[in-house]
Symmetry: C2
Subunit: 412 residues, 2 copies
């Protein structure tokens, strides 16, 4: 039998990671299961952003580019993220959005594999990665095409025409993890390169880019890195690939000497050439606070807790929600899952809205996926119990039939 609320509370009292919840400002009474879409607010962020606004911008004005080292933010925060994803110093930079960064690293990968035309991805990849690949292929006009196969068919689909295997480690809907090490090795054996999107990995589970011999990676600042809404994204380029190609979004901050104002682009050495325009400083300092919350914890311990929370969620749902049309949509094996659980239900959208009305915040992904992110830095076992308790109550009473839960909002 699954634990009851008291047992969950006992687990929380014994949890050595529980202290990290104090680093976040969370709304009273809510159960926040959407940290995989927008990470919670770190307590340090409001003061840091306010200081950036009032002192660094308001009082020190333009001098803060040097005095507050705004100019160093992309590399400094990049190096912090590198520690979370198993990359070395100088292999990660914060810049732009994940979408833009996909374009940069995909351009590089295709250039490094001339003659090969296939960009291989899977049907579970997040659409923006696919859209950027489509946009780049069309622009290049050189016959590149995006080939999509089912996630489990990727390894077998890599062939001599594959320039790059471009995958997201953790499926945004199902939470299914790819085997980053095995697929990177398979790509390399076929002479291809690999791009990993770590949107749902960075800050949620141990990533070992160096150990996997990964070529390129991108990732999101606003999910498990707690960087704030629309936080800048990051990208990784293995040192061996950095100087072999000048990525085409060649903005001035990727120039070797931006303040020489030369008429011709000369790429900076190393990862710096993957920067482009002027970074959004307010959003960057918030991202740094978020990254710091993850660096303060032990990633292996975070992962272990996230796996336990997921197992608990699944166990409770299967015990308390059976017979209401709900189906598990994520791997049952925690090791094969990212830091989320997912279920399908024909009324998934309305059920998620009914949960939100009860203070249990998950999200919905078309067509029928209810998705619950498990941010182990600030979630408690008791939160999982309360979430499933609310879900069971909704399903039993058909509370989701209320028409107000069926009206679709702009953002689902």
């Amino acid at each position: 039998m699954a634990p009851d609320l008291a047992a969950c509370e006992a687990l929380d009292r014994a949890d050595p990671l529980a202290v990290h919840r104090e680093a976040f400002d969370l709304p009273e009474g809510a159960v926040y299961l959407d940290g995989n879409s927008l990470g919670a607010l770190p307590r340090a962020t409001a003061a840091r952003v306010a200081d950036c606004v009032r002192r660094e911008w308001g009082q020190d004005l333009i001098t803060s580019w040097n005095r507050a080292d705004w100019i160093g933010l992309p590399r400094r925060v990049g190096d912090k993220i590198a520690r979370l994803v198993g990359a070395g110093p100088g292999e990660v930079v914060v810049a732009d959005s994940t979408s833009i960064n996909v374009f940069k690293v995909l351009s590089a990968a295709l250039a490094l594999r001339p003659g090969r035309r296939t960009i291989l991805s899977d049907t579970g990849n997040f659409p923006t990665d696919l859209y950027m690949a489509q946009g780049l292929s069309r622009l290049l006009g050189a016959g590149h095409h995006l080939r999509l196969v089912a996630p489990e068919e990727v390894a077998g689909a890599i062939d001599a025409d594959t320039a790059v295997v471009m995958l997201t480690e953790v499926d945004y809907r199902s939470g299914r993890r790819h085997d980053m090490r095995a697929l990177t090795a398979a790509a390399h054996r076929a002479g291809a390169l690999a791009i990993w999107d770590l949107a749902h990995s960075a800050g949620a589970l141990p990533v070992d880019l160096a150990g996997c011999e990964a070529d390129f990676a991108v990732g999101c600042g606003y999910k498990f890195l707690n960087g704030g809404p629309g936080a800048p994204a990051f990208l990784h380029v293995a040192r061996r690939h950095q100087d072999g190609f000048a990525q085409p979004l060649s903005g001035w901050l990727g120039h070797d000497a931006p303040f020489a104002f030369e008429a011709g682009y000369r790429p900076a050495a190393g990862i710096g050439r993957y920067a482009c325009g002027t970074p959004p400083v307010l959003s960057m300092v918030a991202l740094e606070c978020g990254v710091d919350t993850v660096l303060a914890a032990d990633m292996a311990a975070l992962r272990a807790k996230s796996m336990r929370l997921g197992d608990l969620f699944v166990e409770l749902v299967e015990e308390r929600c059976a017979g209401h049309g709900i189906a598990l949509a994520c791997p049952r094996d925690a090791a094969a899952r990212g830091s989320q659980v997912s279920f399908t239900h024909p009324d998934g959208y309305a059920i998620v809205q009914a949960l939100v009305a009860r203070g249990v915040i998950g999200d919905f992904r078309a067509p029928d996926v209810m998705r619950f992110g498990l941010a182990p830095l600030y979630l408690r076992h008791a939160d999982i119990w309360r979430a499933v308790d609310a879900l069971a109550g909704i399903l039993a009473s058909r509370a989701h039939d209320d028409p107000r839960f069926r009206r679709r909002a702009a953002v689902t």
Copy 2:
């Protein structure tokens, strides 16, 4: 004879725009002449950003995409900027950086003029625009090339191979204005399109994109729009060009139905397709506050004041700084000048540092340009007098010979 301090103070007392200075938090005692690089902090911004952090993000979390209409920010702020640059609703969107936006609109312009290979620009354009054109040309591999001519030679250089004339209206060093209307017409007569970079125009002088029949424009949020360090940029696409091309940085927020999570990119109708990834919300709300400070004033009155401030600056320098190797580097005619004045001096870098040490903040642009931005929303005639008084004092005493003023910082 140029006005003395008392006369300048009298001008300020009579200035109907003086009240707008109250909308800004400026450091006590400083004379800020770098609003063309980083606009000053609006008083409303700190509270707005704090509310976005604490309430919208911290308390309302993911629901703020709908509840606080974060998802609407790019279009809403874009429509506000449209009013400042003579564009219609739905013709401007806020997204990414100026560099990235140059890539988008240049891609569109080249696609709309197939067979033409020349991107025509001038040697005074800001380097990032040139770098992005170089990056795109190399990527396309279709023989496009960037041709640079002297600013005064642009009109004569437009020919039958010119796909697009890509210019910045106000030269970032000299402040020289291009004739946007005449050059756009010349481009059109030759069958070419025109892209205008409004980095030093938007919020500083009246722009009439519609009246000029401009095709595309980009611009900066952190200069005269007072949007904060690295604020997101904007771009404009004339309605007639919007649906004819799907720009290649085809991220999910430019999709017709982002939350349907389709595997294939279908561009949104209209300007929406020029959005790409998730926008940096904290920086976006700060930008909106900045744009509001400009919308609160009359642009024609702002321009008239900015011209008077520039004339005053030049008159005072010529009267008080003559004989010290300083030379006018901007047009003497205020109508031919943007909202700045520039001077050259062989010791320009050190002189600017010596000015900063005295609380007069301008900036330096290689190789020898001292640049003073004139933000008419918050600058006073007396500020100009004090700035030139400090400059005259430095030149007379050779204070800039102090070695500490010669050490180059990372950002100049």
